[in-house]
């Protein structure tokens, strides 16, 4: 069914990235006090940047293809709590739970013209940002910000509703075990089956589940518990889904207490996300979409379609055997919180332009004849990429690759070089490409090589359409490493990795910001500050992700045209700011002065624009 949308898209212009036009809408961007001329000069300055057109096609925003994928005509019925698929909503994938509250009440809006005025940031109490607490739906808004409500969901929520203010995270990290237990295995049924109750209890305690089943009701994959244990529940899900299917309708999601269920149907597959982590439908849907892409990546669309057309009752878990770890590691990264999924963008390693250039050149110089894509990746951050002029890369595909190479252990633990058939659904969902992966040893002390963390490991990924090209790729790798050793690139990469992401205070000394996210829309890439010191622990990081989720959801709510969103709670102040050029999200102390916040935000944005060519891969090298 989604075949039409799955074809390779090569037209860069379909993505709503309009780098040239953007400068016209630039007015709404706050300009910087000391660079008054900037907003004017930038109009003349931006469009002529030579690599701009390439930029467009380097990384295609996924939303386009996603919209195509989801374009199924259905009847429209919508009820209070049960979301069915509205024809229009199919594309927007709007999130009910997350957005309803935020989008309806009066929202923190700011007059952009005021924010944009050169003196805006100095204007003191002229209060360019007006924030107001939404009244009607306060209960729901609170729920959004309440990440780990699971401990005492009901009491907390009621209390919060009554109080009309924002729920708080506990100040300390008491709940680290809570989030960590999310990744633990439920365990297996013993032979007598007498531990079933215990296992089910553990299973129910998980705050996040994914279940993939076939239209015929066969369980295909579940994040927690094996299909034997939870077959009853899978049956229930199947019954609920088919109840709507029978009426020619598609179930999109529903709530039960504090648990949100989101259903995504793709061909003969139903993918279900069950979350008590207060995530929006939109986010859950993106996560399910990524899981579906992983299945396509393993099997390709034609063979998936074929399997079910030959035998609708096919047990897909068999052909998927061995790729469960890929699905699980994707699911785990969503549970921890994945910014690249949230923003549908990629992060690059910050490195000087000339150093990146040198690496690009080394890649181009050593390029093997059957190479399609060549990538150098440091811990899921892209360092360099070369590609044919007419083919772009899709962030969704890269996310699958990075998950396979860095998150799942199957490739890395092997210790050698790998040769992996992989389908990149964004590139072409109907066939396999062959991926050569080799990890680089950039540490001086081999002693500690076992302790190299995910962030520090550097991989060369070479992709070819030729399944016999392994040794050709291996040769290219050897030549590439030699080149990079000679011109010092390896050392530069190591330095860049060691430097890590900058702290907010490195960028703006004394800033009130604890963390920020900046997405460059045209480049489909993002950058952010370091998690340390505020968000080093898993739990705190997860909360940060939740705050960003909510900020993102409120800004991107359907039918709202929010440009600035300022949200105050007792535990944090969050601030989102969207222009045609970038999306900016940041988190600060509660009770942060609005002006200080706006000032810092614009300084960071200024910094990003100054460092643009180091933070992002602009255009990339083509051949």
């Amino acid at each position: 069914m989604p075949a039409a949308g799955m074809n390779t898209r090569q037209d860069p212009k379909t993505d709503g990235q309009q780098p040239v036009e953007t400068s016209k809408q630039y007015l709404s961007r706050p300009s910087i006090p000391d660079h008054d001329e900037r907003s004017d000069s930038s109009e003349g300055e931006r469009p002529p940047l030579p690599p701009r057109p390439n930029t467009l096609s380097l990384l295609n925003d996924e939303t386009g293809s996603r919209a195509a994928l989801q374009a199924e005509a259905t009847t429209a019925i919508s009820r209070t709590d049960i979301e069915t698929q509205l024809p229009e909503a199919a594309e927007s994938a709007h999130s009910t739970l997350a957005i309803r509250g935020l989008s309806q009440g009066p929202k923190a809006r700011a007059s952009l013209s005021q924010l944009a005025s050169p003196r805006g940031s100095e204007a003191g109490d002229s209060a360019s940002i007006r924030s107001s607490i939404p009244n009607g739906d306060s209960g729901e808004i609170e729920a959004l910000f309440m990440d780990f409500a699971a401990t005492a969901p009901d009491s907390q929520r009621q209390e919060a509703t009554g109080l009309l203010d924002f729920p708080e995270f506990a100040a300390d990290d008491i709940d680290d075990d809570g989030i960590l237990s999310e990744f633990e295995a439920v365990g297996e049924l013993n032979e007598e089956g007498d531990n079933e109750e215990l296992l089910l209890q553990r299973w129910k305690a998980k705050r996040k589940h994914y279940v993939i089943l076939s239209a015929a009701g066969k369980p295909i994959w579940t994040r927690h518990g094996d299909s034997g244990l939870i077959s009853g529940y899978v049956g229930v899900i199947q019954t609920i889904i088919s109840f709507y299917e029978d009426k020619n309708d598609h179930l999109r999601g529903f709530s039960a207490g504090d648990t949100r269920f989101v259903v995504l149907t793709r061909g003969s597959l139903h993918l279900v996300a069950i979350s008590r982590m207060m995530e929006g439908d939109n986010q859950l849907r993106l996560q399910l979409e990524a899981l579906y892409m992983q299945i396509l990546s393993t099997l390709t669309l034609p063979s998936l379609t074929h399997l079910f057309s030959v035998r609708p009752s096919t047990d897909l878990s068999r052909p998927l055997q061995g790729s469960e770890s890929l699905l699980s590691s994707l699911a785990d990264s969503f549970t921890r919180g994945s910014l690249s999924t949230l923003l549908s963008a990629l992060e690059c390693l910050k490195i000087r332009k000339q150093h990146r250039q040198a690496i690009n050149n080394a890649l181009l110089k050593t390029k093997a004849s059957s190479l399609l894509y060549g990538l150098l990746v440091a811990g899921a951050r892209l360092v360099s990429v070369i590609r044919p002029k007419k083919h772009s890369l899709h962030p969704g595909d890269l996310q699958l690759l990075f998950n396979m190479v860095f998150e799942a252990d199957g490739v890395k633990a092997g210790g050698g070089e790998s040769w992996i058939p992989v389908c990149l659904p964004g590139f072409n969902s109907s066939g396999y490409l062959y991926m050569y992966v080799s990890f680089l040893d950039i540490r001086d002390d081999i002693e500690n090589s076992a302790e190299i963390t995910k962030d520090e490991s550097v991989a060369i990924v070479l992709i070819s359409p030729d399944k016999e090209a392994f040794f050709e790729m291996q040769e290219m790798r050897d030549a590439l490493v030699e080149q990079m050793e000679r011109n010092g690139s390896l050392k530069e990469i190591k330095t860049a990795i060691d430097n890590g992401r900058p702290a907010t205070t490195d960028i703006v000394p004394g800033t009130v910001l604890h963390h920020f996210l900046y997405k460059s829309r045209a480049n489909v890439q993002f950058t952010m500050s370091s998690y340390a010191p505020e968000f080093s622990s898993v739990t705190r990081r997860r909360r940060l992700m939740s705050m960003y989720n909510n900020l993102h959801a409120s800004i991107h709510a359907k039918n709202t045209h929010v440009k600035v969103h300022h949200c105050v709670s007792r535990s944090a102040t969050s601030f989102g700011w969207v222009t045609p050029i970038f999306e900016f999200y940041c988190i600060a102390e509660p009770n942060t002065n609005r002006n200080a916040l706006a000032q810092s935000a614009s300084k960071v944005a200024q910094w990003v624009q100054r460092e643009e060519e180091r933070l992002f891969i602009i255009g990339g090298a083509v051949f």
Partner: protein, 260 residues
């Protein structure tokens, strides 16, 4: 094991292309990891696609450099297997001594190799996970077999099997494929046979050494120094060496230029 040995007089060195085949989760990657890094990982994730590793093995008269293709055992990768065994000089067909179905799968692989691979290929049948059995690799296998027999003889009725299972659970012996059965099959087919434990290291190096010894001198390409590069017996190159595969002819000749 090998580095130190090569310190004295340079021995002739040759590359041997070896492929590992067998059902998923029998321990192929673990065997390789033990052989190459002398390491073991509990609960290793399944291999995706195939991994390529090299390791030298020093014999009294020469050094063998193994170029190892560790393939994924899942059904969906089976169609790629010919690419890896097509020009292999040696194959390790692995099964799990605690899982009878894995021996059946191993037999299929052996048959396929005998049918499709290079005629002179040296095949070793390897029963892995010996650590899960009572013999743990140290006790002589015959003794264990005898013991098993005496147990069933003692109980000698219908309840015997159950009793055995209980005893297995208690004693921790999970063996389901007897050494005798596998040896018999290996002898029939003219295979090398070993029972190994990648976890404890039992017999792992022995398998590779035995293979190195079993490779006929004539099929070794000599004169290739150690520094000659890893990709010498490339898929494409050797495709042209031994067997005529029409599908690959073009690719082989096209790549010939850059492969060396």
């Amino acid at each position: 094991m090998s580095e130190s040995a090569s310190a004295n007089a340079p021995k002739p060195s040759s590359s041997v292309k070896l492929v590992l085949l067998g059902e998923a989760a029998v321990g192929k990657s673990s065997l390789v990891l033990r052989f190459v890094n002398n390491d073991f990982q509990e609960n290793k994730e399944p291999t995706i696609g195939a991994a390529f590793l090299t390791q030298k093995c020093s014999l009294p008269t020469r050094t063998i450099k193994f170029e190892i293709w560790d393939t994924a055992g899942q059904e969906r990768f089976a169609s790629l297997a010919p690419m890896y065994y097509r020009n292999a000089q040696a194959a390790l067909v692995v099964y799990d001594v605690t899982k009878p179905s894995s021996l059946t799968k191993a037999k299929h692989w052996v048959a396929e190799l005998q049918r499709q691979a290079s005629p002179g290929i040296v095949i070793a049948l390897v029963g892995n996970k010996l650590d899960l059995t009572n013999d743990g690799g140290d006790v002589s296998e015959a003794a264990v077999a005898a013991q098993n027999e005496s147990e069933s003889a003692r109980d000698g009725d219908e309840g015997a099997n159950e009793e055995d299972d209980v005893q297995d659970a208690v004693s921790g012996d999970a063996r389901k494929v007897s050494t005798r059965e596998a040896t018999g099959y290996a002898e029939e087919e003219g295979l090398l046979f070993f029972e190994t434990s990648a976890k404890t290291g039992t017999n792992v190096v022995d398998v590779f050494t035995a293979i190195a010894n079993a490779i006929p001198e004539s099929s070794l390409k000599t004169g290739r120094g150690t520094g000659a590069g890893t990709g010498q017996t490339s898929l494409a190159r050797s495709a042209e060496d031994s067997r005529v595969n029409l599908g690959d002819r073009n690719a082989a000749t096209a790549k010939e230029g850059c492969a060396c």
